[in-house]
């Protein structure tokens, strides 16, 4: 699981399991910090990255043997682009979900325990782009640095 990298790029590939994903997310976060990701964006990037990778583990490879998740990060002066690719099932409708969160309702027993992943990704990124190409899912997340959220 050694990252291939230079000054502004960071690439990591790991098997799409929860344990490998957990380690991979930590490694990518640390690697991005070392390469100059502005500290005020670090939390946003880590949360969105974790949700996107967890989606691959839980949904793209649901019911099939998990292959690999490849994450490529490109860090520029004013933004970070992250490309996440896998060879699992395409996103439903070949489109990223809107990410409308489940209503919190009024009763504790009715509280949602999931369904927040895409909502968080939408909240924390500036742009989301997805394509299915040659049996691969390619999800790109963009984070602009000038906006402080």
């Amino acid at each position: 699981m050694e990252p291939v990298c230079n000054k502004t790029c960071l690439e990591l590939s790991f098997p799409a399991t929860e344990t490998e994903a957990s380690a991979g997310i930590s490694q990518l976060s640390a690697g991005l910090a070392k390469r100059g990701l502005p500290p005020h964006k670090a939390d946003d990037v880590k949360i969105a990255l974790a949700e996107a990778i967890n989606n691959v583990v839980e949904h793209a490879y649901n019911g099939v043997a998990p292959a690999k998740v490849r994450v490529t990060c490109r860090l520029d002066q004013d933004r970070l682009d992250i490309l996440i690719s896998d060879t699992g099932h395409p996103l439903p409708g070949c489109h990223p979900p809107d990410g409308t969160p489940a209503s919190l309702g009024t009763r504790i027993q009715d509280l949602p325990e999931g369904g927040f992943g895409w909502f968080l990704i939408h909240q924390l990124t500036n742009d989301i782009w997805y394509e299915r190409r040659d049996g691969c899912n390619r999800l790109s997340l963009r984070f602009n640095f000038e906006s402080t959220r």
């Binding site: 930590s26 949360i47 949700e51 919190l104 027993q109 325990e113 968080l120």
Partner: protein, 112 residues
Amino acid sequence: MGLTSKTTGATQIITVHSDRIDAAMAIQFKEDMRAETESNANRVVLDLSDVQFIDSSGLGAIVASMKQLGKDRRLDLAGLQPVVEKVFHLTRMDTVFKLFATLDDALTAPEA
């Protein structure tokens, strides 16, 4: 995963000894919480001071832990790190749980 628990009066304090609660450990967390909260304390305070990261699966596991307590018992959260607090805030779960900056704050707060 690693939870420890102690009881002060009617309050049970459960401390999470992990730097994250994420998809890889959410199920274990939920099971460990079920075991720890069999004591029937009315109020459970979950000390999250050591937790440096949480994802939506971890959040879901904390929500599930509260539901497991039933409607007459309460789960409050203490010591949330900024990134953990952010996840609660964005998902509006900060309106569902009582959040305290520190464990001391949680223990000295007048009980509702």
